[in-house]
């Protein structure tokens, strides 16, 4: 029986050859083809839930590359020292702090952007309200307020959270995950998605490692297991330990991006 109007047509042509039209019901004459869209049917979709975010991320990435800008996405728990490291990086940046742009995400307050501006960085605060992470369209909007050509380095400081931000590509060239020595050596095992996605893992507050009984070997071992290809840095903003190595790494990454860019330009002619 037809499941749409209840008429006696059956699906099997062998069992019953029904007329294609029927006019015995109280409704308008129709063919069975007109029922097709009313029958429950399956649509194959296979679309990523983050497809729109990924489109914005690619646009951001293209903008960074066009300006020869090295873009970083900083992820960590709250209090791991993201803002302090960006401050210190801006202070010692070769071209001057005004060549360092920062987009900083927090649920509330302008405090971090003000801290970063006080050392000369070009900082924009995104207050996300209740959102636990930055998304690529938020970053795209912030970028429209910045003169990207005047910058060498763009740091996106994500909302302090090791879960949700890991899922969102913002268009960065390198993703850095910070782990402070007070947080526990097994954090890379507890938050595999974040650490798996890291290009760089930075151990921060190394100056108090001994005081808090930080097991460095175990932490590095866990990082190596979860992110075997990541570059690992150990540093302290307070003592300056490891900062030079970190900044040299960034300069080298920026040069390699620019070298690739000029290579593409040569090829395109």
């Amino acid at each position: 029986m037809c499941t749409t109007c209840g008429c006696a047509q059956v699906d099997s042509a062998a069992a019953y050859v029904a007329p294609l039209t029927h006019e015995t019901h109280a409704h308008e004459p129709h063919t069975h083809k007109s029922h097709t869209s009313n029958l429950t049917h399956t649509l194959a979709v296979h679309t990523r839930l983050l497809a729109k975010n990924d489109q914005f991320a690619q646009q951001n990435r293209d903008r960074f590359q066009a300006c020869g800008l090295l873009a970083l996405n900083f992820l960590s728990s709250p209090g791991s020292g993201k803002t302090a490291l960006i401050e210190q990086t801006a202070k010692v940046w070769g071209g001057g702090a005004e060549r360092v742009g920062v987009i900083v995400g927090d649920l509330a307050t302008e405090n971090d952007a003000q801290r970063l501006r006080s050392v000369g960085a070009i900082a924009l605060q995104i207050t996300t309200g209740s959102a636990c992470h930055l998304e690529a369209d938020m970053v795209a909007h912030a970028l429209s307020h910045l003169d990207l050509d005047s910058l060498d380095l763009m740091v996106i400081e994500n909302v302090g959270n090791l879960v949700c931000p890991a899922a969102y590509d913002l268009g960065e060239a390198r993703r850095a995950v910070l782990l402070s020595v007070t947080e526990g050596e097994d954090k890379p095992l507890k938050y595999p998605t974040a650490f798996q996605s890291a290009d760089v893992v930075i151990l921060t507050k190394m100056d108090i490692a001994q005081a808090v009984g930080f097991d460095r070997t175990s932490a590095i071992d866990n990082i190596r297991h979860m992110a075997p290809r990541a570059t690992v840095f150990e540093l302290s903003v307070r003592t300056g330990e490891g900062i030079d190595t970190w900044v040299q790494y960034l300069q080298a990454q920026r040069q390699s991006i620019n070298a690739r860019n000029s290579g593409h330009r040569i090829q395109s002619f």
Partner: protein, 113 residues
């Protein structure tokens, strides 16, 4: 808790496909969710009930197909399913970063009428 935002994305994609098919009701939404996607299926279900209210997907069934993590070990050239969040090959004990499956987060299919 970004599952509400993700489910809003899923619903937007579903409504778009349903509209193009001239469907008037969505009966089922099937998602594929990888173990490494950072998404909690129960939180997705909670979000689903909220975001589908007053839409053609209200009362639809949400089907979540879990995708376990699968890695590839280059040393012994086999696939394996890691345990305890680590990526150690159970055969040769080497850690692998080659993830074949587990990051999926997609709207696979819809049932509409």
């Amino acid at each position: 808790m970004h599952e509400v935002g993700l489910m809003e994305n899923a619903l937007a994609i579903a409504l778009d496909y349903a509209a193009r098919d001239q469907a008037h009701r969505i009966h089922k939404i099937c998602l594929r969710v990888g173990a490494l996607s950072g998404v909690e299926p129960e939180a997705l279900r909670f979000a689903f009930d909220i975001v589908t209210q007053n839409t053609i997907a209200e009362a639809a069934q949400l089907e979540i197909e879990p995708c376990p993590t699968r890695c590839y070990c280059a040393a012994c050239q086999t696939e394996f399913e890691p345990v305890d969040g680590g990526y150690e090959c159970p055969t040769c004990r080497i850690w692998s970063a080659a993830i074949l499956q587990g990051k999926e987060l997609e709207l696979a299919s819809l049932e509409v009428s």
